[in-house]
């Protein structure tokens, strides 16, 4: 088996394990930590269905961000939904036969990569141009954008500049999933692209990327506004009553 194939196979196994275990541990912590008080940002829905709808609007349209700042919203939306389509498009490298809906979005997925890159550039520009955002940006905030941008650009590069043997890439990943390793093409762009993706997977559960699961656990967004109708009591608070 070629050297790089072994390295990348191991890297993907490790990264996947870290991503899954790390995220699961974090989500478990969020779920287990009680929210002792009712703190939805009001006006808030008075029913569970209402909360589901509020959360959907938040995740699908970035509702609060839209109210807040149109520039961040446009760039953030371009980036996130560009990435969403790009990721969906990548399912074709992990499924055989390729699912119909993945086939259908193929053409959009290609252009979505540009939307993703444009959104990232916009967000990055704000970190330099807006004094308030410059003030709150740490080195890690810049590196995170750099990482995502590099992933997008190497991906676009393989699509438009220097093609890789995509059939072999697919064979490599299908092989990983069935523990039947296949050689990975050794194009530099591909190796860089995959290396960066591995990096992203590893840092996901230990970085601000936790906002992805976090938003669903945010008490100001996921609580029902019914404190007078239903008594809300955390286990540790109930102890005080004994």
């Amino acid at each position: 088996m070629p050297f790089w194939t072994i390295v990348y196979a191991l890297l993907f196994y490790i990264a996947t394990a870290l991503l899954v275990v790390g995220l699961a541990a974090r989500i478990r912590k969020y779920a287990k930590t009680p929210a002792p008080l009712k703190i939805p940002t009001t006006p808030a829905p008075v029913t569970r269905q209402g909360v589901v709808l509020r959360m959907f609007r938040e995740v699908a349209f970035f509702e609060s961000l839209f109210r807040s700042n149109k520039w961040i919203w446009i760039f953030g939306y371009l980036f996130h939904f560009g990435m969403f389509l790009v990721l969906a498009r990548h399912f074709r490298y992990f499924t055989n036969p390729v699912w119909t809906w993945v086939e259908l979005i193929q053409p959009f997925g290609k252009y979505a990569a540009f939307a993703m890159a444009a959104g990232l550039l916009g967000l990055w520009a704000r970190r330099f141009l807006v004094d308030r955002v410059r003030y709150i940006s740490a080195l890690s905030d810049h590196l995170m954008l750099a990482l995502l941008f590099a992933i997008a650009m190497t991906g676009i590069g393989m699509d438009y500049l220097s093609h890789t043997d995509i059939v072999s890439v697919k064979a490599f990943f299908l092989g990983l999933m069935t523990f039947n390793w296949q050689p990975l093409p050794e194009d530099p762009l591909l190796l860089i692209h995959l290396g960066l993706v591995v990096t992203l997977m590893i840092i996901f559960p230990i970085s601000k990327l936790l906002h992805a699961p976090g938003v669903f656990f945010s008490p100001t967004r996921n609580q029902v506004d019914n404190p007078r109708e239903r008594r809300h009591l955390a286990p540790w608070a109930a102890e005080l009553e004994k």
Binding site: L37, I39, Y135, I206
Partner: protein
């Protein structure tokens, strides 16, 4: 008039350029030993304060999902950076919500996250040094916990939750804030924030009864500790003598009188406000809340109604059932607790009281949505009722009403600048500067519509505006209570 620069009110709101450190000197007085101890906190900075603080931070992370999720989730997008009235009024970047949170987050990262432990420089993580603690004390007392940032954050991160945690940590290492902690101690000892003992309270209420009778010829009562009354009214103690608060209290009394319903105040729970929330102490907040339960049981009332008070209404509406419930001994026909606005609104809807709008013809009114009522509570059965009910009551009492610009009202309302335990003279500069966005919006309707008065339903808002309005060229008495308007307009003796 002041030894600091008063912000200019502009034609249109302008986001200021950051000026680092300009408010670093703003610090409230530190609580004395005896008051710290009455609240169960150490009297002065403990020897191993750093470790005690870390332990407390870890404990709070396990107790509050909000804190844990908020500390992890911020992506530094910048959406909140221009939303805080203290940033807009001071230009100090540490008054941007995200930067304020980061004062806490950077210590959290250093001690409790992989990245902060091994790559502190990369993620901006630091230990809790004396300098960082000083910054905490300064800037976590420049947050009025108004939640405006949480409305605009894509993850709903509420800086108030972080401020509360930071204040709790500081209390636990012996660095409490004088204003809040002395007041809580007074509540335990005497029953209210102002330290007004029972005889003085009885005296005040009697005086008010005489005033009302002189004024109207009708014997409107303000009963105290009357067992068997239908309603227990819990109201901020400022309502007993401060202007314009007391005019609101007179309004509640007249409304109850006209409704023909028996009610009482309690000397045991003669305070609606709960400063336990400001310092983030669940235990103290619970202890303060339990007085209301005790008073309700002792007096044998059937309903609990809260007077005009913003943070009090948050604790009452959102937390009281949790902290001091269940209230199964009260009349299940009514929500527990109710807001006086819900009570009066209902009477108006049923035409059970008569209001003469012309009694307020000398005023052109606007309405200030108090932050904690707007973003942390509700009135009536519908979401957003907290915006509708007060406005409907005001409109039923006057002929001239105009709202301030849309982005400064409802859930986008600006804090008065004095909430969250900052209504103290040692923070005057902060209070004046923090009021700027509200003053700008007020100026807009004054010029546009000739507004003369601003109504509010929060004791802190009323006190704060009385103090800061003159700095911006408005009259101090241009702030009024909503029930003051009701008091002026209500026709007494109509429903006998």
């Amino acid at each position: 008039m002041a030894d600091f620069e008063i912000p200019q009110l502009k034609e249109y709101p302008v986001i200021p350029t950051i000026q680092e450190g300009v408010m670093a000197h703003s610090k409230p007085f530190v609580a004395k030993e005896e008051f710290q101890q009455q609240l169960g906190f150490p009297g002065e900075l403990v020897d191993n304060w750093q470790q005690v603080a870390y332990d407390k931070m870890e404990e709070l992370n396990g107790k509050y999902r909000s804190l844990q999720v908020f500390l992890d989730s911020c992506v530094k997008c910048g959406a909140c950076t221009d939303k805080c009235h203290y940033y807009l009024g001071t230009s100090d970047p540490k008054n941007m919500p995200v930067a304020r949170q980061d004062l806490y987050r950077k210590v959290y990262r250093r001690k409790f996250t992989f990245a902060g432990k091994y790559f502190p420089k990369l993620v901006g993580a630091v230990d809790l040094t004396k300098e960082v603690l000083d910054d905490w004390y300064s800037y976590f007392h420049q947050c009025s916990q108004c939640r405006r940032c949480s409305v605009f954050c894509p993850y709903g991160i509420d800086t108030a939750e972080i401020s509360m945690a930071a204040r709790e940590v500081m209390d636990c290492i012996g660095v409490g804030q004088k204003y809040c902690n002395e007041i809580i101690a007074k509540v335990y000892k005497i029953g209210n924030n102002l330290g007004l003992p029972e005889p003085a309270l009885a005296d005040t209420l009697e005086g008010l009864e005489e005033d009302i009778e002189d004024d109207t010829g009708v014997a409107v009562k303000l009963p105290l500790d009357q067992k068997g009354a239908e309603i227990l009214l819990v109201t901020p103690s400022a309502d007993f003598f401060a202007e314009p608060h007391v005019d609101g209290l007179i309004g509640y009394a007249k409304v109850f009188h006209e409704a023909g319903i028996s009610w009482t105040l309690s000397s045991h729970a003669s305070e609606a406000a709960n400063f336990g929330m400001f310092i983030g102490s669940y235990e103290n907040m619970r202890k303060v809340s339990l007085r209301i339960r005790e008073a309700a049981l002792d007096l044998g009332v059937k309903r609990i109604i809260f007077g005009e008070c913003g943070h009090a209404w948050r604790v009452a509406y959102s937390f009281l059932n949790t902290l001091a419930g269940p209230f199964d001994f009260l009349d299940p026909k009514y929500p527990v607790p109710q807001h006086i606005m819900e009570f009066t609104y209902d009477l108006i809807q049923r035409k059970a009281i008569t209001l003469d709008k012309s009694a307020n013809d000398d005023m052109v009114l606007t309405y200030h949505d108090s932050c904690n009522v707007a973003r942390a509570s509700r009135m009536g059965p519908m979401p957003g009722g907290q915006f509708v009910l007060p406005r409907e009551v005001i409109k039923a009492c006057c002929n001239h009403f105009y709202d301030m610009p849309q982005d400064t009202i409802h859930d986008a309302t600006y804090c008065c600048g004095g909430g969250g335990g900052l209504l103290t003279d040692d923070l005057m500069e902060l209070r004046v500067k923090g009021a700027m966005p509200r003053m700008e919006a007020l100026k807009h309707v004054v010029e546009e519509h000739g507004v003369t008065h601003m109504a509010a339903i929060c004791a802190i808002c009323k006190s704060q505006f009385t103090k800061v309005l003159p700095y911006y060229g408005f009259k101090m008495d241009s702030i009024v209570s909503v029930h003051q308007l009701v008091s002026n307009a209500i026709v007494l003796g109509n429903k006998q």
